[in-house]
Amino acid sequence: MEKITFQINDREVEARPGWTVLETAREYGIEIPTLCFHEAVLPSGACRLCMVEIKDGDWSKLVASCIYPAAKGINVYTETERVSNVRRWIFEMLLAQVPASPEIADLAARYGVTRTRFPVKDPEEMCMLCGLCQRVCEEVVGLSAISTVDRGVHKRVGAPFLRPSDVCVACGCCVNICPTGAMRALFDSIRGETKTTLTQLTA
C-alpha cells in the first residue's frame, strides 16, 4: 500500500494508510505525551495532552494527534509555544485534581511542571477520567460494566446508576489499563456479585 509522507518537526516521516499522527510519531521515536491513549482501544481524544500544531504558511491549528489522521504533506510540530501552553495548563490542573497519582506527577515533571497554582480539592484523588477503563470494558471485554456518570465537573467513573454491577465478571482489565491506579480503589464499587470464580487480581 502507498505510504503517506509528511513532516514532523521538519523531519520527513512515512505513515501507513489509516495511521494517526501519534502512531507515526511513536514509530519514529518522537515523544508526545498521552494519558487517555492505549493501543488496545480506540482513541478518544479526551486528555488533550497529545495536541500538536499543524502549520501551513501563516495558517496553523492545534489538533489532537491521537485522532488526527496522517495526511500527505502536512507539517506537524510537537513542541511549539501554543502546544506547550496547552500541556502546561493541563499538567498544572491535573496536579491539583489528582494529587495522589505519582504517575501524573512524574509525567508532568518530565515536561517541566512540578508545581500547581491551583488549590487541591481532594488529596486522595487519583482518577482523572481518561475513560480507558470504560473503553476497555466496552471494546475489548465487550461488557460495558463501567461507564462515566453525570457530566462536566460532576463526571465520575462508576457502574450504571452507581450500583455494583452484575454484568462485571471481575476480569480486571480496567484495573490493568488504568494509568494512575485509581481503578484499584473504584473496583469494588463496580463489581457486583459475579457468577464466575476468577483467580486473584494482580494489578
Binding site: G45, R48, I67, N85, W89, M128, T148, D150, R151, V153
Partner: protein, 633 residues
C-alpha cells in the same frame, strides 16, 4: 365562499400537483374577507407569560357578551411572537393594524367597542416613544418595526401557526412546489451556492458549500443521507429559533423538505430541546397537517419524491447543540461530542452523510428558492448575505425579536431599533454570540453586524443573542456568569474544558472578592488560550471569548477589582457597601421593615443607618426606597 370551497377547506385534500396548491391557496384567500375585523393576540412565550392567553379569552368573551350583530363577525386569532416582547401582551386589530401593548383582560371591552366595532384608536394602550412621547398607531409607524427588514420572521406574529391554511394563504410551500416541479436537485444546490447563505447557528459555514460537499460524499458512500434541523437553541438570551419554530413551523419544514430533495434524503430529524414544548407541539401539528395535504410523506405533490421527518427531543444538555454531540444524542447515546476529524457531511448521523443546519438556516431556504439565489445575495453585505434575526435583550428599552440585513451597524440595532438603554445614556457593551461570543464596547458601536466584522473585534455572530449592558453591569460578573453556565453544561469529556472552566471561574470569583493580582489576569489570558487551542469541541474552545474580550476592552475594570478592590459597576457584593444619605432619608422605615438581615435602624421620621457589618448586600433596601436615599459605594 361557495359551499364546495368551504367543504374543501374543511377536509384536507391530498394535493397532487403545484397547480393544486395554487388552487387551494386561492380558495383560502377567497374565503377570507379582507374587511373582516380580526383581533390578533400574540401567543409568543413572553406575551403568554404576561397573560396573553387570558387576554385572548377576554376578547372571545367580550365578543360574545357584546352580542355583536354585524355583517362580518370579528374573529380572534392567536399567533407566534410579534416581536416587541418587553411591551407584551401585544394585540393587533386587523385590517387597520392598530397595535396595542401591555393589554390586560380588562381592556378587551374598550378595544372591541372602539377599534373593532368602529375604527377608533385607544391611544393609552398604544406605543409611546419614551423620549418624545409620540404615539404610534400601527406597526408600520413604530420605529422598532419600521427600521427592521423582516423576511424570515415576516409571517411570525401574523399567521396562526397551528393552522396550515393560514400559512398556505401567505405562500407557504410555494417554493417547495416550484422546486419539485421546475428544478433538479443539482440546480437547488447551485442556487444555494449563489445565495451565499451562511449557517445561522454560529460558525457561519456557507450552506451551499456544505450541501455540495454532502453531494460529493454521497457519490462516494451512497445513500441513505440524512437532513437534520438543529433546534437545540440554548444560549442565554437567545430565543429566535424557538420563536421561528413556534410562530412559523412550516417555514422550517418547507426548507427541510427542499434540502432533502436536493440531497436525495428520505428521512429527516428535528432535534428540538425539550424546554420548548410549544415549538414541539406546533412542529408536530404542522407535520401532521403537511402530511394530510400531501406536502410531506409519500410522493410529495406527485413528484415521485418522498420524505418524512421525526422530532427528537433534547434532554436538556446545552452541549447537544454541538453537531456531533447532537448526532450521538439522536443515536440514543450520551450527548458527548465525537473526537473525530471527519466532517458531518461525510460521516454524521449513524455514520452516514448528514446535513445539519440550524432552524433559522432552514427557514431561509424557501425565501432563497422563491426569489432566486442571486437576488438573495443582494441583501446584506458581500460574504454575509441575507438578513439575520437577533434577540435583543438586556438593558435596552425594546426587548424583542429583530431582523435586519447583515452588515447593519450595531448602533442602529441597539439605539434606533432597540431604543437604547434608556435615560439617554450610552450602552456600555453588547454581548453577541452568547457564552461563545464576546463583549463589544460602546467605542465600537458602529461595527457592522456581520460574520467577519464581529470575528474581527473578537466576538462572533453566534446564534443571534444580543445582550445589551449598561454601566451597572460588571464585566467580571458577566464573565463569571457565562463561565458558570458553561461549567455546568460541559460534557466533561476533555480535560481543558472540564477542569479549565472551573479554574477560570475560580480566578474570577477571586477577582469579584477583590483578591488576586494583575499577574492573575495574565494567567487567566494564558489559560483561556490553552482552552481555545486545546478543548475537544466548540463549547470549550469558544468558552473563553467573553473573558478574553472583556479583558481586551475593559482591562481597567479588572484592575480596579484586583488592585483597588473596587467594583466600579457596584455589582460584586464583597466590594460594595450600601449606605443611607441622611439628607434624603425621611425615616419612612420601609427599608428597615424589608431588610432580611434586620441591620437597618432608626426612629420613625428620622434618618436611618445601615450596619455594614451585618449587611447581606441583597439590595432590597435600594429597591424599596422611594426617596433615592440609599446609595452603593
Amino acid at each position: 365562499m361557495s359551499d364546495s370551497t368551504a367543504a374543501k377547506l374543511q377536509t384536507p385534500w391530498r394535493l397532487t400537483s403545484p397547480g393544486d396548491l395554487e388552487t387551494l391557496r386561492n380558495d383560502i384567500i377567497e374565503s377570507q374577507d379582507p374587511n373582516r375585523p380580526t383581533i390578533v393576540v400574540c401567543h409568543g412565550n413572553g406575551c403568554l407569560a404576561g397573560g396573553g392567553a387570558k387576554v385572548a379569552e377576554a376578547f372571545r368573551q367580550g365578543l360574545s357578551d357584546a352580542g355583536i350583530n354585524a355583517k362580518l363577525m370579528p374573529g380572534v386569532k392567536t399567533t407566534g411572537c410579534q416581536g416587541l416582547c418587553s411591551r407584551g401582551p401585544l394585540v393587533t386589530i386587523q385590517p387597520h393594524g392598530f397595535c396595542y401593548q401591555r393589554v390586560q383582560p380588562g381592556d378587551a371591552a374598550e378595544i372591541i367597542e372602539k377599534s373593532v366595532m368602529a375604527t377608533e384608536p385607544v391611544e393609552r394602550l398604544m406605543h409611546r416613544d419614551t423620549k418624545t412621547g409620540e404615539v404610534f398607531h400601527t406597526e408600520e409607524e413604530i420605529p422598532f418595526y419600521r427600521l427592521q427588514e423582516r423576511r424570515v420572521i415576516q409571517k411570525i406574529g401574523k399567521i396562526d401557526p397551528t393552522d396550515i391554511t393560514d400559512a398556505i394563504a401567505t405562500g407557504a410551500y410555494s417554493s417547495l412546489a416550484k422546486v419539485l416541479s421546475t428544478m433538479t436537485p443539482q440546480e437547488v444546490v447551485l442556487e444555494m451556492e449563489k445565495s451565499g447563505l451562511r449557517g445561522r447557528g454560529g460558525a457561519g459555514f456557507p450552506t451551499g458549500r456544505k450541501w455540495r460537499s454532502a453531494l460529493q460524499a454521497i457519490e462516494k458512500k451512497g445513500r441513505p443521507v440524512y437532513v437534520v434541523v438543529n433546534g437545540d437553541e440554548g444560549d442565554p438570551g437567545a430565543f429566535m429559533d424557538g420563536a421561528i419554530m413556534e410562530g412559523d413551523p412550516h417555514a422550517v419544514l418547507e426548507g427541510l423538505i427542499i434540502g432533502a430533495y436536493a440531497l436525495g434524503a428520505e428521512k429527516g430529524y428535528l432535534y428540538v430541546r425539550a424546554e420548548y414544548p410549544m415549538a414541539i407541539k406546533h412542529l408536530e401539528m404542522a407535520m401532521a397537517q403537511a402530511r394530510s395535504y400531501g406536502l410531506m410523506g409519500e410522493n410529495i405533490l406527485n413528484s415521485g419524491f418522498s420524505f418524512d421527518a421525526r422530532i427528537n427531543r433534547g434532554a436538556g444538555a446545552f452541549v447537544c447543540g454541538e453537531s456531533t454531540a447532537l448526532f450521538t444524542s439522536i443515536e440514543g447515546k450520551a450527548g458527548n461530542p465525537r473526537p473525530k476529524y471527519v466532517r458531518s457531511v461525510e460521516e454524521g448521523l449513524w455514520g452516514r452523510p448528514t446535513v445539519l443546519n440550524n432552524v433559522e438556516t432552514w427557514a431561509n431556504i424557501p425565501l432563497i428558492m422563491g426569489m432566486g439565489g442571486e437576488e438573495y445575495a443582494k441583501i446584506g453585505v458581500p460574504h454575509s448575505t441575507g438578513t439575520k434575526v437577533f434577540c435583543l435583550v438586556g438593558k435596552v428599552e425594546n426587548v424583542g425579536l429583530v431582523e435586519v440585513p447583515m452588515g447593519t451597524p450595531m448602533t442602529r440595532i441597539v439605539e434606533d431599533i432597540g431604543g437604547g438603554v434608556g435615560g439617554g445614556k450610552p450602552f456600555k457593551a453588547v454581548q453577541t454570540g452568547g457564552p461563545s461570543g464576546g463583549c463589544i464596547p460602546y467605542s465600537l458601536k458602529d461595527t457592522p453586524v456581520d460574520f467577519d466584522s464581529l470575528t474581527k473585534v473578537g466576538s462572533m455572530m453566534g446564534s443571534g443573542a444580543m445582550i445589551v449592558m449598561d454601566e451597572t453591569d460588571c464585566v467580571v460578573d458577566v464573565g463569571r456568569y457565562f463561565l458558570k453556565f458553561l461549567e455546568e453544561e460541559s460534557c466533561g469529556k476533555c480535560i481543558p474544558c472540564r477542569l479549565g472552566l472551573s479554574r477560570m471561574r475560580e480566578i474570577l470569583d477571586n477577582f469579584s472578592q477583590g483578591k488576586g493580582s494583575a499577574a492573575d489576569i495574565e494567567d487567566l489570558t494564558s489559560l483561556s488560550n490553552a482552552l481555545k487551542d486545546g478543548a475537544l469541541c466548540a463549547l470549550g474552545s469558544s468558552a473563553p471569548n467573553p473573558v478574553l474580550t472583556t479583558i481586551r476592552y475593559f482591562k481597567d475594570e479588572y484592575l480596579a477589582h484586583v488592585e483597588d478592590h473596587k467594583c466600579p459597576a457596584g455589582v460584586c457584593k464583597s466590594l460594595i457597601t450600601f449606605a443611607i444619605d441622611p439628607e434624603k432619608c425621611n425615616g419612612c422605615m420601609s427599608c428597615a421593615r424589608n431588610c432580611p438581615a434586620e441591620c437597618i435602624t432608626g426612629k420613625k421620621k428620622e434618618p436611618h443607618a445601615i450596619d455594614a457589618s451585618q449587611c447581606l448586600r441583597c439590595g432590597i433596601c435600594l429597591e424599596t426606597c422611594k426617596f433615592d436615599a440609599i446609595f452603593v459605594s
